[in-house]
Amino acid sequence: MTNVKVKSVAKTYGAVPVLTDISTEFTEGSFTSLLGPSGSGKTTLLRIIAGFINPDQGAVLIGNNDVTHVPVWGRNIGMMFQSYALFPHMTIAQNVSFGLERRGIKGEAARKEVDRALEMVRLPGFGDRTPKQLSGGQQQRVALARAIVIKPSVLLLDEPLSALDRRLRQEMQVELLRIQRASGLTTIFVTHDQEEALTLSDKVAILDRGRIVQIGAPETVYEKPLTRFAAEFLGDSNFLTGKVEDGAVRLADGTVIHACERLPGNGADVTLAVRPEKMSVATGDTTDNRITARINTVIYAGPVLSYILETADGLPLKLFSQNRDGHVLREGQAVTLNWSREHTVAVAN
Protein backbone atom coordinates (compact mmCIF):
# COMPACT_ATOMS: atom_id res chain seq x y z
CA MET A 1 0.00 0.00 0.00
CA THR A 2 2.04 2.81 -1.34
CA ASN A 3 1.97 5.94 -3.41
CA VAL A 4 3.61 5.75 -6.79
CA LYS A 5 4.96 8.91 -8.36
CA VAL A 6 6.29 9.54 -11.82
CA LYS A 7 8.28 12.74 -12.26
CA SER A 8 8.99 14.30 -15.69
CA VAL A 9 9.65 10.91 -17.26
CA ALA A 10 10.67 10.90 -20.91
CA LYS A 11 11.69 8.11 -23.24
CA THR A 12 12.86 8.24 -26.83
CA TYR A 13 13.52 5.30 -29.13
CA GLY A 14 15.98 6.45 -31.76
CA ALA A 15 14.47 9.71 -32.91
CA VAL A 16 10.93 8.78 -31.92
CA PRO A 17 9.69 10.23 -28.63
CA VAL A 18 7.55 7.60 -26.92
CA LEU A 19 6.92 9.47 -23.70
CA THR A 20 7.23 13.22 -23.27
CA ASP A 21 7.55 14.72 -19.81
CA ILE A 22 5.10 12.53 -17.89
CA SER A 23 4.39 13.55 -14.32
CA THR A 24 1.62 12.01 -12.30
CA GLU A 25 0.83 10.39 -9.00
CA PHE A 26 -0.96 7.15 -8.27
CA THR A 27 -2.38 7.44 -4.78
CA GLU A 28 -2.33 4.70 -2.20
CA GLY A 29 -4.90 1.99 -2.85
CA SER A 30 -6.22 3.59 -6.03
CA PHE A 31 -7.00 1.83 -9.29
CA THR A 32 -5.75 3.83 -12.27
CA SER A 33 -6.16 2.90 -15.91
CA LEU A 34 -3.72 4.03 -18.54
CA LEU A 35 -5.91 4.26 -21.61
CA GLY A 36 -4.75 5.01 -25.10
CA PRO A 37 -4.41 3.65 -28.61
CA SER A 38 -1.41 1.50 -29.51
CA GLY A 39 1.66 3.67 -29.77
CA SER A 40 0.40 6.14 -27.17
CA GLY A 41 3.12 5.08 -24.75
CA LYS A 42 0.90 3.50 -22.10
CA THR A 43 2.77 0.20 -22.04
CA THR A 44 6.12 2.00 -22.05
CA LEU A 45 5.04 4.00 -19.01
CA LEU A 46 3.97 0.83 -17.19
CA ARG A 47 7.27 -0.88 -18.05
CA ILE A 48 9.20 2.14 -16.81
CA ILE A 49 7.33 1.95 -13.49
CA ALA A 50 8.03 -1.80 -13.40
CA GLY A 51 11.71 -1.24 -14.15
CA PHE A 52 11.94 -3.13 -17.45
CA ILE A 53 12.72 0.10 -19.28
CA ASN A 54 15.02 2.88 -18.09
CA PRO A 55 13.65 6.36 -18.74
CA ASP A 56 15.93 8.81 -20.53
CA GLN A 57 15.11 11.36 -17.86
CA GLY A 58 12.85 11.78 -14.88
CA ALA A 59 12.28 9.66 -11.81
CA VAL A 60 10.00 6.89 -10.54
CA LEU A 61 9.12 6.87 -6.85
CA ILE A 62 7.47 3.97 -5.09
CA GLY A 63 6.42 4.94 -1.57
CA ASN A 64 8.75 7.94 -1.56
CA ASN A 65 11.77 5.80 -2.45
CA ASP A 66 13.42 6.84 -5.67
CA VAL A 67 13.59 3.53 -7.56
CA THR A 68 14.64 5.01 -10.90
CA HIS A 69 17.92 3.10 -10.74
CA VAL A 70 16.64 0.03 -8.92
CA PRO A 71 16.25 -3.00 -11.22
CA VAL A 72 12.90 -4.80 -11.60
CA TRP A 73 13.81 -7.53 -9.15
CA GLY A 74 14.49 -5.02 -6.39
CA ARG A 75 11.27 -3.04 -6.74
CA ASN A 76 8.79 -5.41 -5.10
CA ILE A 77 6.16 -5.11 -7.80
CA GLY A 78 3.36 -7.50 -8.69
CA MET A 79 2.82 -7.79 -12.42
CA MET A 80 0.30 -9.49 -14.65
CA PHE A 81 1.03 -10.03 -18.31
CA GLN A 82 -1.21 -10.24 -21.33
CA SER A 83 -0.18 -13.84 -21.96
CA TYR A 84 -0.52 -14.90 -18.28
CA ALA A 85 3.20 -15.84 -18.33
CA LEU A 86 2.76 -18.80 -15.99
CA PHE A 87 5.82 -21.05 -15.79
CA PRO A 88 4.70 -24.13 -17.75
CA HIS A 89 7.20 -26.49 -16.09
CA MET A 90 5.94 -25.78 -12.58
CA THR A 91 2.73 -26.66 -10.78
CA ILE A 92 0.28 -23.95 -9.81
CA ALA A 93 1.57 -23.99 -6.24
CA GLN A 94 5.18 -23.68 -7.45
CA ASN A 95 4.18 -20.80 -9.69
CA VAL A 96 2.52 -18.94 -6.84
CA SER A 97 5.33 -19.61 -4.37
CA PHE A 98 8.07 -18.54 -6.82
CA GLY A 99 8.12 -14.98 -5.53
CA LEU A 100 7.86 -16.11 -1.91
CA GLU A 101 10.92 -18.29 -2.34
CA ARG A 102 12.86 -15.34 -3.71
CA ARG A 103 11.96 -13.57 -0.48
CA GLY A 104 13.21 -16.42 1.65
CA ILE A 105 9.75 -17.69 2.60
CA LYS A 106 9.75 -21.47 2.33
CA GLY A 107 8.11 -24.62 3.62
CA GLU A 108 4.99 -24.43 5.76
CA ALA A 109 4.85 -20.62 5.83
CA ALA A 110 4.99 -20.47 2.04
CA ARG A 111 2.34 -23.19 1.72
CA LYS A 112 -0.05 -21.23 3.89
CA GLU A 113 0.46 -18.06 1.85
CA VAL A 114 -0.05 -19.96 -1.40
CA ASP A 115 -3.24 -21.58 -0.14
CA ARG A 116 -4.56 -18.22 0.97
CA ALA A 117 -3.76 -16.58 -2.35
CA LEU A 118 -5.40 -19.42 -4.30
CA GLU A 119 -8.45 -19.12 -2.10
CA MET A 120 -8.57 -15.40 -2.76
CA VAL A 121 -8.74 -16.00 -6.52
CA ARG A 122 -11.26 -18.81 -5.92
CA LEU A 123 -9.03 -21.66 -7.04
CA PRO A 124 -8.54 -23.55 -3.77
CA GLY A 125 -7.07 -27.02 -4.23
CA PHE A 126 -5.62 -26.26 -7.65
CA GLY A 127 -2.04 -26.24 -6.33
CA ASP A 128 -0.99 -29.60 -7.76
CA ARG A 129 -2.20 -28.99 -11.29
CA THR A 130 -0.06 -27.64 -14.09
CA PRO A 131 -0.87 -24.48 -16.08
CA LYS A 132 -1.69 -26.63 -19.13
CA GLN A 133 -4.60 -28.23 -17.28
CA LEU A 134 -6.25 -24.86 -16.61
CA SER A 135 -8.53 -22.74 -18.78
CA GLY A 136 -7.51 -19.25 -19.84
CA GLY A 137 -9.57 -17.59 -17.13
CA GLN A 138 -8.18 -19.90 -14.46
CA GLN A 139 -4.62 -19.27 -15.64
CA GLN A 140 -5.28 -15.56 -15.34
CA ARG A 141 -6.45 -16.01 -11.76
CA VAL A 142 -3.29 -17.94 -10.94
CA ALA A 143 -1.23 -15.13 -12.47
CA LEU A 144 -3.09 -12.70 -10.20
CA ALA A 145 -2.50 -14.91 -7.15
CA ARG A 146 1.20 -15.11 -8.01
CA ALA A 147 1.40 -11.33 -8.30
CA ILE A 148 -0.38 -10.49 -5.02
CA VAL A 149 1.01 -13.26 -2.80
CA ILE A 150 4.31 -11.37 -2.48
CA LYS A 151 2.48 -8.34 -1.03
CA PRO A 152 3.85 -6.01 -3.68
CA SER A 153 4.10 -2.25 -3.25
CA VAL A 154 2.21 -1.77 -6.49
CA LEU A 155 0.22 -4.03 -8.81
CA LEU A 156 0.96 -3.50 -12.50
CA LEU A 157 -1.41 -4.99 -15.05
CA ASP A 158 -0.45 -5.08 -18.72
CA GLU A 159 -3.71 -5.67 -20.60
CA PRO A 160 -4.25 -8.86 -18.61
CA LEU A 161 -7.81 -9.40 -19.78
CA SER A 162 -7.44 -8.77 -23.49
CA ALA A 163 -6.86 -12.44 -24.35
CA LEU A 164 -10.12 -13.54 -22.74
CA ASP A 165 -13.49 -13.66 -24.47
CA ARG A 166 -16.14 -11.08 -23.65
CA ARG A 167 -18.12 -12.87 -20.99
CA LEU A 168 -15.05 -14.20 -19.19
CA ARG A 169 -13.51 -10.74 -19.36
CA GLN A 170 -16.49 -9.19 -17.61
CA GLU A 171 -16.33 -11.89 -14.97
CA MET A 172 -12.62 -11.26 -14.43
CA GLN A 173 -13.20 -7.50 -14.22
CA VAL A 174 -15.51 -8.01 -11.26
CA GLU A 175 -13.05 -10.46 -9.72
CA LEU A 176 -10.12 -8.12 -10.23
CA LEU A 177 -11.97 -5.22 -8.66
CA ARG A 178 -13.02 -7.34 -5.67
CA ILE A 179 -9.45 -8.52 -5.04
CA GLN A 180 -7.99 -5.07 -5.58
CA ARG A 181 -10.43 -3.58 -3.07
CA ALA A 182 -9.77 -6.39 -0.59
CA SER A 183 -5.99 -6.13 -0.85
CA GLY A 184 -5.88 -2.33 -1.02
CA LEU A 185 -3.05 -2.48 -3.55
CA THR A 186 -2.16 0.59 -5.56
CA THR A 187 -2.99 -0.66 -9.04
CA ILE A 188 -1.99 0.58 -12.46
CA PHE A 189 -3.81 -1.02 -15.36
CA VAL A 190 -2.93 -0.67 -19.02
CA THR A 191 -5.79 -1.11 -21.46
CA HIS A 192 -7.04 0.04 -24.82
CA ASP A 193 -10.59 -0.94 -23.91
CA GLN A 194 -12.43 2.23 -22.84
CA GLU A 195 -15.35 0.40 -21.28
CA GLU A 196 -12.97 -1.65 -19.14
CA ALA A 197 -11.19 1.53 -18.06
CA LEU A 198 -14.45 3.22 -17.07
CA THR A 199 -15.78 0.17 -15.23
CA LEU A 200 -12.70 -0.60 -13.16
CA SER A 201 -10.94 2.62 -12.37
CA ASP A 202 -10.90 5.24 -9.70
CA LYS A 203 -8.95 7.29 -12.17
CA VAL A 204 -8.50 7.14 -15.91
CA ALA A 205 -5.43 8.60 -17.59
CA ILE A 206 -5.79 9.15 -21.32
CA LEU A 207 -2.55 9.00 -23.24
CA ASP A 208 -1.99 10.38 -26.70
CA ARG A 209 1.35 10.35 -28.48
CA GLY A 210 3.43 10.06 -25.33
CA ARG A 211 1.53 12.54 -23.17
CA ILE A 212 -1.17 12.23 -20.56
CA VAL A 213 -3.83 14.46 -22.06
CA GLN A 214 -6.25 14.07 -19.19
CA ILE A 215 -6.39 12.25 -15.88
CA GLY A 216 -9.33 12.13 -13.53
CA ALA A 217 -12.30 10.17 -12.26
CA PRO A 218 -14.03 8.20 -15.05
CA GLU A 219 -17.09 10.42 -14.80
CA THR A 220 -15.11 13.62 -15.05
CA VAL A 221 -13.06 12.42 -17.97
CA TYR A 222 -16.15 11.20 -19.79
CA GLU A 223 -18.42 14.15 -19.06
CA LYS A 224 -15.83 16.91 -19.35
CA PRO A 225 -13.17 15.87 -21.85
CA LEU A 226 -10.39 18.42 -22.17
CA THR A 227 -9.30 17.65 -25.71
CA ARG A 228 -10.87 16.51 -28.91
CA PHE A 229 -8.75 13.33 -28.70
CA ALA A 230 -10.02 12.52 -25.19
CA ALA A 231 -13.61 13.12 -26.27
CA GLU A 232 -13.18 10.87 -29.28
CA PHE A 233 -11.14 8.06 -27.73
CA LEU A 234 -13.29 7.64 -24.64
CA GLY A 235 -16.75 7.15 -26.04
CA ASP A 236 -18.32 8.88 -29.03
CA SER A 237 -18.67 12.61 -29.57
CA ASN A 238 -20.23 15.13 -31.90
CA PHE A 239 -18.01 18.08 -32.70
CA LEU A 240 -19.31 21.53 -33.56
CA THR A 241 -16.89 24.27 -34.56
CA GLY A 242 -17.59 27.98 -34.57
CA LYS A 243 -16.61 31.39 -33.24
CA VAL A 244 -17.22 32.75 -29.77
CA GLU A 245 -19.79 35.56 -29.76
CA ASP A 246 -21.13 37.14 -26.56
CA GLY A 247 -20.48 34.09 -24.38
CA ALA A 248 -21.96 31.63 -26.88
CA VAL A 249 -20.72 29.96 -30.04
CA ARG A 250 -22.00 30.83 -33.51
CA LEU A 251 -21.62 28.00 -36.03
CA ALA A 252 -20.94 28.62 -39.71
CA ASP A 253 -24.64 28.33 -40.56
CA GLY A 254 -25.58 30.92 -37.95
CA THR A 255 -26.87 28.55 -35.27
CA VAL A 256 -26.01 29.77 -31.79
CA ILE A 257 -24.89 27.11 -29.32
CA HIS A 258 -24.57 27.63 -25.57
CA ALA A 259 -21.83 25.81 -23.75
CA CYS A 260 -20.92 25.24 -20.13
CA GLU A 261 -17.93 27.24 -18.77
CA ARG A 262 -14.45 27.58 -20.26
CA LEU A 263 -15.10 29.55 -23.43
CA PRO A 264 -12.28 31.67 -24.81
CA GLY A 265 -12.75 35.37 -25.64
CA ASN A 266 -14.92 36.88 -28.38
CA GLY A 267 -13.97 36.00 -31.91
CA ALA A 268 -11.90 32.93 -31.00
CA ASP A 269 -12.33 29.69 -32.92
CA VAL A 270 -13.66 26.94 -30.71
CA THR A 271 -14.61 23.26 -30.92
CA LEU A 272 -17.52 21.97 -28.86
CA ALA A 273 -18.07 18.32 -28.00
CA VAL A 274 -21.47 16.78 -27.28
CA ARG A 275 -22.03 13.10 -26.43
CA PRO A 276 -24.53 11.48 -28.85
CA GLU A 277 -26.65 10.12 -25.98
CA LYS A 278 -27.06 13.63 -24.53
CA MET A 279 -28.97 14.76 -27.59
CA SER A 280 -32.59 13.96 -28.18
CA VAL A 281 -35.27 14.76 -30.71
CA ALA A 282 -36.88 18.08 -29.80
CA THR A 283 -40.32 17.90 -28.25
CA GLY A 284 -40.61 21.26 -26.53
CA ASP A 285 -38.75 24.49 -26.28
CA THR A 286 -37.13 23.85 -22.94
CA THR A 287 -33.50 23.09 -23.65
CA ASP A 288 -30.61 25.40 -24.42
CA ASN A 289 -29.41 24.12 -27.78
CA ARG A 290 -31.09 22.93 -30.94
CA ILE A 291 -29.92 22.03 -34.40
CA THR A 292 -31.76 20.65 -37.41
CA ALA A 293 -30.45 17.65 -39.33
CA ARG A 294 -31.53 14.91 -41.68
CA ILE A 295 -31.28 11.21 -40.71
CA ASN A 296 -28.99 9.32 -43.08
CA THR A 297 -28.72 5.95 -41.41
CA VAL A 298 -30.50 4.15 -38.61
CA ILE A 299 -28.50 1.44 -36.79
CA TYR A 300 -30.34 -1.05 -34.65
CA ALA A 301 -28.08 -2.29 -31.84
CA GLY A 302 -30.53 -3.94 -29.44
CA PRO A 303 -30.92 -1.74 -26.37
CA VAL A 304 -29.70 1.33 -28.21
CA LEU A 305 -30.70 2.84 -31.54
CA SER A 306 -28.06 4.96 -33.13
CA TYR A 307 -28.68 7.47 -35.88
CA ILE A 308 -26.21 9.06 -38.22
CA LEU A 309 -27.39 12.49 -39.29
CA GLU A 310 -26.19 15.40 -41.37
CA THR A 311 -27.00 19.10 -41.09
CA ALA A 312 -27.78 21.25 -44.13
CA ASP A 313 -24.12 22.39 -43.95
CA GLY A 314 -22.88 18.81 -44.21
CA LEU A 315 -21.86 18.55 -40.55
CA PRO A 316 -22.06 14.87 -39.47
CA LEU A 317 -23.86 14.12 -36.21
CA LYS A 318 -24.56 11.00 -34.15
CA LEU A 319 -27.54 10.41 -31.91
CA PHE A 320 -27.99 7.49 -29.49
CA SER A 321 -31.41 6.84 -28.06
CA GLN A 322 -32.81 4.16 -25.78
CA ASN A 323 -34.81 1.55 -27.63
CA ARG A 324 -38.08 2.15 -25.84
CA ASP A 325 -40.58 1.91 -28.67
CA GLY A 326 -38.49 0.51 -31.51
CA HIS A 327 -37.97 2.57 -34.63
CA VAL A 328 -39.76 5.86 -34.43
CA LEU A 329 -37.52 7.86 -36.70
CA ARG A 330 -37.00 6.91 -40.35
CA GLU A 331 -34.12 7.41 -42.69
CA GLY A 332 -34.48 10.60 -44.74
CA GLN A 333 -36.55 12.31 -42.05
CA ALA A 334 -35.52 15.81 -40.95
CA VAL A 335 -35.47 16.31 -37.19
CA THR A 336 -34.52 18.95 -34.67
CA LEU A 337 -32.13 17.76 -31.99
CA ASN A 338 -31.87 19.47 -28.66
CA TRP A 339 -29.62 19.20 -25.67
CA SER A 340 -28.63 21.11 -22.60
CA ARG A 341 -25.74 23.58 -22.37
CA GLU A 342 -24.12 21.68 -19.52
CA HIS A 343 -23.50 18.77 -21.87
CA THR A 344 -21.70 21.03 -24.30
CA VAL A 345 -17.99 21.13 -23.58
CA ALA A 346 -15.33 23.21 -25.27
CA VAL A 347 -12.35 21.00 -26.14
CA ALA A 348 -8.83 21.79 -27.28
CA ASN A 349 -7.95 20.44 -30.70
Binding site: A85, P88, H89
Partner: protein, 259 residues
Protein backbone atom coordinates in the same frame (compact mmCIF):
# COMPACT_ATOMS: atom_id res chain seq x y z
CA UNK B 1 -5.50 -46.18 -50.23
CA UNK B 2 -4.60 -47.26 -46.70
CA UNK B 3 -2.96 -50.40 -48.10
CA UNK B 4 -0.83 -48.38 -50.49
CA UNK B 5 0.22 -46.10 -47.65
CA UNK B 6 1.23 -49.02 -45.50
CA UNK B 7 3.17 -50.64 -48.34
CA UNK B 8 4.95 -47.37 -48.98
CA UNK B 9 5.90 -47.05 -45.32
CA UNK B 10 7.29 -50.58 -45.24
CA UNK B 11 9.23 -49.92 -48.45
CA UNK B 12 10.80 -46.81 -46.96
CA UNK B 13 11.73 -48.60 -43.74
CA UNK B 14 13.24 -51.49 -45.71
CA UNK B 15 15.18 -49.08 -47.87
CA UNK B 16 16.61 -47.47 -44.73
CA UNK B 17 17.26 -50.53 -42.63
CA UNK B 18 18.07 -53.44 -44.98
CA UNK B 19 21.71 -52.43 -45.57
CA UNK B 20 22.18 -51.89 -41.85
CA UNK B 21 20.61 -55.21 -40.98
CA UNK B 22 22.75 -57.00 -43.58
CA UNK B 23 25.83 -55.28 -42.17
CA UNK B 24 24.89 -56.39 -38.63
CA UNK B 25 24.12 -59.92 -39.72
CA UNK B 26 27.42 -60.29 -41.56
CA UNK B 27 29.23 -59.46 -38.34
CA UNK B 28 27.87 -62.75 -37.03
CA UNK B 29 28.72 -64.75 -40.18
CA UNK B 30 31.73 -67.02 -39.91
CA UNK B 31 32.94 -66.38 -43.46
CA UNK B 32 35.62 -63.69 -43.77
CA UNK B 33 34.51 -63.04 -47.35
CA UNK B 34 30.84 -62.48 -46.57
CA UNK B 35 29.96 -65.78 -48.22
CA UNK B 36 26.65 -67.52 -47.82
CA UNK B 37 25.27 -69.81 -46.43
CA UNK B 38 25.13 -67.97 -43.14
CA UNK B 39 26.96 -69.67 -40.30
CA UNK B 40 26.50 -68.04 -36.93
CA UNK B 41 29.73 -67.16 -35.20
CA UNK B 42 31.06 -64.58 -32.76
CA UNK B 43 34.62 -64.91 -34.04
CA UNK B 44 34.73 -61.36 -35.40
CA UNK B 45 33.75 -59.95 -32.03
CA UNK B 46 36.48 -62.03 -30.47
CA UNK B 47 38.91 -60.84 -33.12
CA UNK B 48 37.84 -57.28 -32.49
CA UNK B 49 38.86 -57.62 -28.86
CA UNK B 50 42.38 -58.32 -30.09
CA UNK B 51 42.38 -55.55 -32.66
CA UNK B 52 44.06 -52.74 -30.76
CA UNK B 53 43.96 -50.31 -33.68
CA UNK B 54 40.20 -50.52 -34.24
CA UNK B 55 39.39 -50.44 -30.54
CA UNK B 56 41.65 -47.45 -29.90
CA UNK B 57 40.18 -45.61 -32.88
CA UNK B 58 36.67 -46.41 -31.64
CA UNK B 59 37.54 -45.15 -28.18
CA UNK B 60 39.09 -41.99 -29.66
CA UNK B 61 35.94 -41.38 -31.70
CA UNK B 62 33.71 -41.63 -28.66
CA UNK B 63 35.96 -39.42 -26.52
CA UNK B 64 36.15 -36.78 -29.24
CA UNK B 65 32.40 -36.94 -29.80
CA UNK B 66 31.62 -36.57 -26.10
CA UNK B 67 33.97 -33.61 -25.63
CA UNK B 68 32.73 -32.02 -28.87
CA UNK B 69 29.17 -32.46 -27.76
CA UNK B 70 29.75 -30.88 -24.34
CA UNK B 71 31.85 -27.97 -25.62
CA UNK B 72 29.79 -27.22 -28.73
CA UNK B 73 26.49 -27.45 -26.84
CA UNK B 74 27.71 -25.06 -24.15
CA UNK B 75 29.13 -22.53 -26.60
CA UNK B 76 26.26 -22.89 -29.05
CA UNK B 77 23.62 -22.48 -26.32
CA UNK B 78 25.36 -19.37 -25.07
CA UNK B 79 25.39 -17.98 -28.62
CA UNK B 80 21.70 -18.85 -28.94
CA UNK B 81 20.86 -16.95 -25.75
CA UNK B 82 22.61 -13.89 -27.10
CA UNK B 83 20.98 -14.19 -30.52
CA UNK B 84 17.50 -14.81 -29.14
CA UNK B 85 17.33 -12.55 -26.12
CA UNK B 86 19.80 -9.70 -26.58
CA UNK B 87 20.26 -6.93 -29.05
CA UNK B 88 23.76 -5.91 -30.03
CA UNK B 89 25.64 -4.52 -32.96
CA UNK B 90 26.24 -6.96 -35.79
CA UNK B 91 23.70 -9.45 -34.45
CA UNK B 92 22.03 -9.96 -37.83
CA UNK B 93 25.36 -10.41 -39.57
CA UNK B 94 26.42 -12.97 -36.97
CA UNK B 95 23.13 -14.80 -37.33
CA UNK B 96 23.59 -15.03 -41.09
CA UNK B 97 27.24 -16.04 -40.84
CA UNK B 98 26.44 -18.95 -38.53
CA UNK B 99 24.46 -20.84 -41.13
CA UNK B 100 26.70 -21.27 -44.24
CA UNK B 101 29.13 -23.67 -42.49
CA UNK B 102 26.31 -26.21 -42.53
CA UNK B 103 26.04 -25.91 -46.31
CA UNK B 104 29.77 -25.66 -47.14
CA UNK B 105 31.05 -29.08 -48.28
CA UNK B 106 33.11 -30.72 -45.55
CA UNK B 107 35.89 -31.32 -48.04
CA UNK B 108 36.33 -27.56 -48.41
CA UNK B 109 36.04 -26.87 -44.68
CA UNK B 110 38.50 -29.69 -44.04
CA UNK B 111 41.03 -28.42 -46.56
CA UNK B 112 40.71 -24.91 -45.16
CA UNK B 113 41.24 -26.17 -41.62
CA UNK B 114 44.25 -28.26 -42.61
CA UNK B 115 45.90 -25.30 -44.33
CA UNK B 116 45.05 -22.91 -41.51
CA UNK B 117 46.15 -25.28 -38.74
CA UNK B 118 49.38 -26.01 -40.58
CA UNK B 119 50.06 -22.31 -41.17
CA UNK B 120 49.18 -21.23 -37.64
CA UNK B 121 51.16 -23.98 -35.95
CA UNK B 122 48.13 -25.72 -34.44
CA UNK B 123 49.07 -28.75 -36.46
CA UNK B 124 47.20 -32.04 -36.41
CA UNK B 125 46.17 -34.57 -33.79
CA UNK B 126 43.59 -34.81 -31.06
CA UNK B 127 43.50 -31.09 -30.24
CA UNK B 128 43.11 -30.21 -33.92
CA UNK B 129 40.33 -32.78 -34.31
CA UNK B 130 38.55 -31.31 -31.30
CA UNK B 131 38.79 -27.76 -32.59
CA UNK B 132 37.56 -28.86 -36.01
CA UNK B 133 34.65 -30.90 -34.68
CA UNK B 134 33.52 -28.23 -32.24
CA UNK B 135 33.62 -25.57 -34.96
CA UNK B 136 31.61 -27.87 -37.19
CA UNK B 137 29.01 -28.70 -34.55
CA UNK B 138 28.32 -25.19 -33.19
CA UNK B 139 26.08 -24.03 -36.08
CA UNK B 140 23.88 -27.11 -35.61
CA UNK B 141 23.57 -26.41 -31.89
CA UNK B 142 22.69 -22.75 -32.50
CA UNK B 143 20.08 -23.83 -35.03
CA UNK B 144 18.44 -26.43 -32.78
CA UNK B 145 18.58 -24.40 -29.55
CA UNK B 146 17.48 -21.25 -31.40
CA UNK B 147 14.39 -23.08 -32.61
CA UNK B 148 13.72 -24.13 -29.03
CA UNK B 149 14.02 -20.53 -27.87
CA UNK B 150 11.31 -19.48 -30.27
CA UNK B 151 8.81 -21.60 -28.35
CA UNK B 152 9.61 -19.88 -25.04
CA UNK B 153 7.98 -16.51 -24.53
CA UNK B 154 10.30 -13.75 -23.36
CA UNK B 155 7.75 -12.56 -20.82
CA UNK B 156 8.29 -15.69 -18.73
CA UNK B 157 11.70 -14.33 -17.73
CA UNK B 158 10.12 -10.93 -17.18
CA UNK B 159 7.53 -12.53 -14.90
CA UNK B 160 10.33 -14.18 -12.92
CA UNK B 161 12.16 -10.87 -12.62
CA UNK B 162 9.00 -9.11 -11.46
CA UNK B 163 8.82 -11.72 -8.69
CA UNK B 164 12.36 -10.96 -7.56
CA UNK B 165 14.65 -13.05 -9.79
CA UNK B 166 17.86 -11.57 -11.08
CA UNK B 167 18.28 -12.17 -14.84
CA UNK B 168 20.69 -15.02 -14.09
CA UNK B 169 18.28 -16.68 -11.68
CA UNK B 170 15.41 -16.16 -14.12
CA UNK B 171 17.44 -17.86 -16.85
CA UNK B 172 18.39 -20.86 -14.73
CA UNK B 173 15.01 -21.32 -13.06
CA UNK B 174 12.69 -20.65 -15.99
CA UNK B 175 14.33 -20.57 -19.41
CA UNK B 176 16.87 -23.36 -18.99
CA UNK B 177 14.40 -25.99 -17.74
CA UNK B 178 12.12 -25.18 -20.67
CA UNK B 179 15.02 -25.21 -23.09
CA UNK B 180 16.40 -28.47 -21.77
CA UNK B 181 14.85 -30.77 -24.44
CA UNK B 182 16.28 -28.58 -27.21
CA UNK B 183 19.68 -28.51 -25.53
CA UNK B 184 19.67 -32.29 -25.16
CA UNK B 185 18.69 -32.63 -28.81
CA UNK B 186 21.45 -30.26 -29.82
CA UNK B 187 23.96 -32.23 -27.75
CA UNK B 188 22.97 -35.43 -29.52
CA UNK B 189 23.20 -33.67 -32.84
CA UNK B 190 26.69 -32.43 -32.03
CA UNK B 191 27.65 -35.92 -30.85
CA UNK B 192 26.41 -37.45 -34.11
CA UNK B 193 28.11 -34.81 -36.27
CA UNK B 194 31.39 -35.57 -34.55
CA UNK B 195 31.03 -39.36 -34.52
CA UNK B 196 30.07 -39.37 -38.20
CA UNK B 197 32.81 -37.05 -39.27
CA UNK B 198 35.19 -38.53 -41.81
CA UNK B 199 36.48 -35.88 -44.18
CA UNK B 200 37.75 -33.38 -41.64
CA UNK B 201 38.99 -36.14 -39.35
CA UNK B 202 40.90 -37.67 -42.25
CA UNK B 203 42.73 -34.38 -42.80
CA UNK B 204 43.44 -33.66 -39.16
CA UNK B 205 44.23 -37.15 -37.85
CA UNK B 206 47.84 -38.28 -37.41
CA UNK B 207 49.14 -41.83 -37.87
CA UNK B 208 49.30 -42.10 -34.09
CA UNK B 209 45.91 -40.59 -33.36
CA UNK B 210 42.95 -41.44 -35.52
CA UNK B 211 39.20 -41.85 -35.27
CA UNK B 212 37.08 -44.85 -36.16
CA UNK B 213 35.79 -43.70 -39.57
CA UNK B 214 39.33 -42.89 -40.66
CA UNK B 215 40.61 -46.22 -39.30
CA UNK B 216 37.82 -48.13 -41.05
CA UNK B 217 38.63 -46.33 -44.29
CA UNK B 218 42.27 -47.32 -44.15
CA UNK B 219 41.35 -50.86 -43.11
CA UNK B 220 39.02 -51.17 -46.09
CA UNK B 221 41.79 -50.11 -48.41
CA UNK B 222 43.97 -52.93 -47.10
CA UNK B 223 41.13 -55.40 -47.58
CA UNK B 224 38.75 -55.74 -44.74
CA UNK B 225 37.31 -58.36 -42.43
CA UNK B 226 33.93 -58.56 -40.70
CA UNK B 227 35.61 -57.12 -37.59
CA UNK B 228 34.54 -53.80 -39.08
CA UNK B 229 30.95 -55.01 -39.12
CA UNK B 230 31.31 -55.94 -35.49
CA UNK B 231 32.58 -52.56 -34.32
CA UNK B 232 30.08 -50.77 -36.57
CA UNK B 233 27.28 -52.79 -34.98
CA UNK B 234 28.44 -51.86 -31.49
CA UNK B 235 28.66 -48.21 -32.44
CA UNK B 236 25.25 -48.30 -34.07
CA UNK B 237 23.61 -49.87 -31.03
CA UNK B 238 25.23 -47.24 -28.85
CA UNK B 239 23.91 -44.37 -30.99
CA UNK B 240 20.43 -45.87 -31.21
CA UNK B 241 20.34 -46.28 -27.44
CA UNK B 242 21.26 -42.61 -27.04
CA UNK B 243 18.48 -41.54 -29.42
CA UNK B 244 15.93 -43.72 -27.65
CA UNK B 245 16.92 -42.34 -24.26
CA UNK B 246 16.51 -38.85 -25.67
CA UNK B 247 13.09 -39.65 -27.10
CA UNK B 248 12.03 -41.13 -23.77
CA UNK B 249 13.05 -38.15 -21.65
CA UNK B 250 12.60 -35.16 -23.93
CA UNK B 251 9.25 -36.24 -25.35
CA UNK B 252 9.73 -34.36 -28.59
CA UNK B 253 6.47 -33.32 -30.17
CA UNK B 254 4.74 -32.99 -26.82
CA UNK B 255 2.65 -29.94 -27.56
CA UNK B 256 -0.55 -30.89 -25.78
CA UNK B 257 -1.29 -27.29 -24.89
CA UNK B 258 -4.78 -27.13 -23.51
CA UNK B 259 -6.20 -23.68 -23.75
Amino acid sequence: MKQIGRFYLIAVLMFLYTPILVMMAMGFNASPLYELPFTFSTRWYEALLGNRQLLTAGMNSIIIAVITSVVATTLGTMASVALSRRTFRGKNLLQVLLLPPIAIPWLITGTAMLIFFYWSGIGRGMHALLIGHVALAIPYVVLVVGTGFRTIRADLEEAAMSLGSTPIHAFFSVTLPLLYPSILGAALFAFAVSLDQFVISYFLATPGYTTLPVQIYSAIRKGFTPEINAISTLLLLGSMAAILIFARFAKPGDTSDKR
